[in-house]
Symmetry: C2
Subunit: 623 residues, 2 copies
């Protein structure tokens, strides 16, 4: 490492106590985690491990990547346990870990599908069969559980499997890389927790070999007939110019490449990452921060192709945007990455789980004609445990630090303990974000000492005011999107930040043909949507006016408490075109009260119509 990068202030040192996230984390513990364990039981996940343990050859249930879902539930549980000791949950997890360990083969191999169904075909189809993907989730769960509890039970299983994989793949060994990236991220974590550089080297191998068209070789496809785009195997990775193919795979791959670029100082790799990031966020991201335009490839299509009704925006992809953006934010200390992280977290990702915590979206459209709703589980159940592990690890995303600086990235009320070179700092953040833009930060250093405090000015915020101990800072220093306050801090110092948070009418780039003539509402980090239920006219007949005013209003009894946006729209009578091809424009609209709710909260009532992007009058005549 050539220089000191930022690192996250870890989960265990951060408290969350606001009225937005704290109840969500509580429901995550009380409802979501038990629900996930129930689903694992109900759908045969544990049984698969028992079959593998018993060397059975029949009875396997589900897809061949089933193990990964279970590992992700363990990982989510680990993040919960990191902050909230819960002997019953810990016992439950330990039992599952014992089961997992009992299924591991003497050589370290562990994959219940291959052990039960196709033992002779291990490592023969990296492209399709998710062995390395499942291994990655095992490792991530193991690291999380070790960090949360100090227990090595799952970590040792993961290390044995990682060593087995390392004995097979790598320089001078077999060529290969996963059809679904994930293990790259996991191996970097395993390296950090064990200090064993082989894991980092193996991760780098998987990343840097990508695009050498190994999958064509693995499947005997003539090069001229091979198009590896869906699996990001189309060009050598450093030559990638756009984000392509399956969205979750592409985003995990880029997160992994960011890790490898950071840890090995590979500037060429990082240039590729930044190029692809720009393409992803400037051309291929939904306003909700999610990605993946088409169900056809569960992924990317072409620049500015961002459909609403058929948006794929898999919940896992929104999680992956957070994972990748977080790595870039720590690497470059630039708030623009946190802007995307926040957008994906509060909108695309958060919509993936119901308010109650036991129903999930796999696909997150930006428009519904009604009838589309969250499910308790899926045949391909990657999303429910993914959103669970993301939310359970929320604490990781709030602060970052270096030796002598603290970055405040997300304005989540709570506390944090940060250890700097010059001393310890206890931070207390009070605020009602995302509903309100007023933030109060109290600092309690162990003794007065100098350090830098970086306060993120969100990209959505046009005007921010900062006061130190009540005194307005007229022209605060701003660096990479953060207000920088470098001073000797002393006990009880107070920093107030006012982020102006008006309702914004957002337009999309004109090349986004789906959204031409439409606006979306955003306030603070929250993207809003219009649900049929809240309107006084059929949703498809409602239009907004560009100069229409929207006012925020707190509704404590609605959807767990939300700020709704209230305003006036126009409802057309629904023009009857009959057979005319051309006719004089007739204006037949009436004013109608309209109300928008945060996108994350949709489909928590009857699954009726929903729209994020609303047409502007005078289009009223055409629909």
């Amino acid at each position: 490492m050539a220089k000191e990068y930022l690192r996250a202030v870890p989960l265990k040192d951060v408290e969350v106590s606001d009225r937005f996230w704290a109840p969500r984390l509580e429901r995550l513990r009380d409802i979501t985690i038990p629900h996930l364990f129930n689903m694992l039981e109900k759908h045969g996940y544990f049984n698969n491990f028992k079959l593998a343990r018993d060397k059975a050859r029949e009875g396997y249930s589900g897809t061949f990547w089933m193990d990964s879902d279970l590992y992700k539930v363990i990982e989510a549980s680990a993040y919960v346990l990191a902050k909230h000791p819960d002997p019953a949950l810990e016992k439950q997890v330990d039992e599952v870990i014992s089961l997992i360990a009992s299924a591991q083969m003497p050589d370290g191999y562990l994959n219940t599908y291959f052990q039960v169904v196709e033992p002779e075909r291990r490592w023969t189809n990296l492209r399709d069969c998710h062995e390395l993907y499942c291994a990655g989730h095992l490792i991530e769960a193991a690291v999380a559980y070790y960090e949360a509890t100090g227990k090595r039970n799952l970590l040792d299983v993961a290390i044995r499997f990682a060593d087995h994989i390392d004995s097979i793949f790598g320089e001078g060994k077999r060529l290969g890389y996963p059809g679904h990236p994930e293990i790259e991220l996991a191996l970097v974590k395993l390296w950090k927790v064990t200090g064993e550089k082989r894991y980092l080297d193996l991760a780098r191998f998987f990343i840097l070999k990508r695009g050498t068209k190994f999958f064509a070789q693995e499947h005997n496809i003539p090069p001229e007939e091979y198009d590896g785009t869906t699996l990001q195997d189309n060009v050598p990775i450093k030559e990638q110019k756009e984000i392509v193919g399956h969205a979750v795979r592409a985003l995990y791959l880029m997160a992994g490449a960011t890790d490898i670029g950071r840890e090995s100082g590979d500037e060429e790799l990082l240039q590729m990452v930044q190029r692809v990031w720009r393409n992803a966020t400037e051309r291929r991201m939904f306003i909700t921060g999610g990605m993946g335009s088409s169900s056809h490839n569960e992924g990317f299509t072409r620049d500015y192709d961002l459909p609403n009704l058929t948006a794929y925006q898999e919940t896992c992809a929104s999680c992956a945007v957070v994972f990748w953006a977080h790595r870039l934010a720590l690497l470059y200390g630039d708030a623009k990455y946190v802007d995307v992280l926040e957008r994906a977290l509060y909108n695309g990702a958060l919509a993936g789980i119901s308010l109650k915590g036991d129903r999930f979206f796999y696909v997150n459209p930006l428009e519904s004609k009604g009838g589309y709703k969250r499910e308790e589980w899926f045949g391909c159940a990657c999303c429910p445990p993914n959103i669970a592990r993301l939310l359970a690890s929320l604490g990781n995303y709030i602060y970052a630090q270096s030796e002598d600086s603290i970055w405040v990235n997300l304005y989540v009320q709570g506390k944090a303990n940060v250890e700097l070179k010059g001393g310890k700092v206890n931070l207390e953040l009070i605020g009602d974000y995302p509903w309100d833009g007023h933030i109060l930060l109290s600092l309690h250093p162990s003794q007065p000492f100098e350090f830098s405090l970086y306060l993120r000015v969100p990209g959505w915020c046009k005007k921010a005011e900062v006061r130190i101990n009540g005194k307005v800072q007229e022209k605060p220093s701003v660096e990479k999107g953060y207000i920088l306050i470098k001073r000797t801090w002393k006990e009880g110092d107070k920093v107030e930040l006012d982020l102006l948070m008006p309702v914004e009418k957002i337009v999309a780039h004109p090349e986004v043909k789906e959204d031409v003539g439409k606006i979306a509402l955003q306030r603070g980090p929250l993207v809003y949507c219009f649900e049929e239920e809240d309107q006084h006219a059929p949703l498809q007949l409602i239009y907004l006016a560009l100069d229409g005013e929207f006012k925020p209003k707190w509704e404590s009894d609605l959807l767990g408490g939300v700020v709704v946006l209230e305003g006036e729209g126009l409802a057309s009578d629904g023009v009857d075109w009959k057979d005319e091809l051309y006719k004089p424009a007739s204006i037949r609209v009436k004013k109608v009260k309209v109300r928008a709710i945060p996108y994350y909260a949709w489909d928590n009532r009857e699954p009726r119509g929903m729209k994020v992007w609303m047409p502007l009058y005078p289009q009223a005549m055409w629909e």
Copy 2:
């Protein structure tokens, strides 16, 4: 004939004296006709006939349908001569006719291309080689010249050729029909002028056989590989549901089918014609009345595919719309057909010729980014003589009659002599149409007698008032779009008609994706366009407002005298999007005076940008 249909009051009995058409007809005589003869000379048309006469086998110039252009120039000249005796022109035409006659073969065959270039291949490729098409134009020219001058010189040539064709094709003879319909219309005219029913039968044969996939047979194409859509040979003609393929061919075919349906009382054929008419005018017609969406097939594509910049709208197709609509108007006595006729005549067709009369459009887009302009001639020169023959025959389209009724279809100032069963009527029409909606009609019957007068209420007119000898008719009888006045008319009776003619903002059916969020301006029968030259901001940055007011203003020195429409638009600063994918809607538009001119008059100054369909604000933000 089962019933008496309407017939046109013929050209020779109609005078045109208004300030809109009269100067155009004068320029047609003084400039266009001489220009056309010059072009024929310059491009070797006469020489081709000399080569054929001399039985030469070398030296032919141009396409294989060259003869037809020359015939159409004769036809246009004939219409001119019908109203304006001109010994010099008549002499010139007679000389050309002598040349034509000298080239005719002893068996009646006459086609300079085949005679000079491929004599052995006569009638071997009806699909591509236009022999029947050229014959059709010969016949139409011959009939017109005979009717104008009483001379049989060209008629006898045409009859000999028609007899030759009749000896080859027909029931019990050879199967065949033209790749490019046209002869069907001509043979019906020849039947009417000669009384020889064989010509009608042959026309019916060509029409009714169409769609039997003769072209597949002619070119040895296996049926399963044959798609005859471009040439309307895809299904038996009575099964046609939509207007398909090459636009001019499709429209000539439908005009021919209308003739045959009318003359043979074939209701099944007429039902097809009406079905296809509805498809054509309700789904596939430009606002300017022209047709043909794509240059690819010079024709139709799919419903509501009506592009602006790439509109094909061949001038010949607009002429063909007039031909077909006129036949339907006479067949059904319904003003709705005249609405389309008028739309095509005053807009799509009239745009095909420059104001001066010596430059022509082949393709008529509804939008130009600049640089597109009329030409003096074309390698495929079908359009210049077609628009010339249409305009020269304008008188044919103004009135229709039956035994006891007169229909006023176009409000063109002038006079007409109509012979009814009960007596003769001299009509005088005074008005400033299309600039003004006030019409004064004076009737001069040979003696007082009863007949019906049908006054068309144009489809564009929302409010019409009629007065008889100064007395307002409170609730006039209306039949098929005409105000019907049945009474005993006497010398000097006056009928005044006031057609309310406001500026209308027209929208297109929402399925016309090209025009969503746009409006076009129309006043009376004229569709307007915006030329860059008249604006105070770059055309591509100008938007109209739905509630913006436009006022008509007569400009005598502009474009030969036009009513322009003046109003206020909005010009955007041209939003710079840089790299943002989403951003708050910023309104940066300023009001700007805008001015529209009639579409027909565009490109008579510098060939700069032009738009018929203008985007509405608030789209301003997106472009």
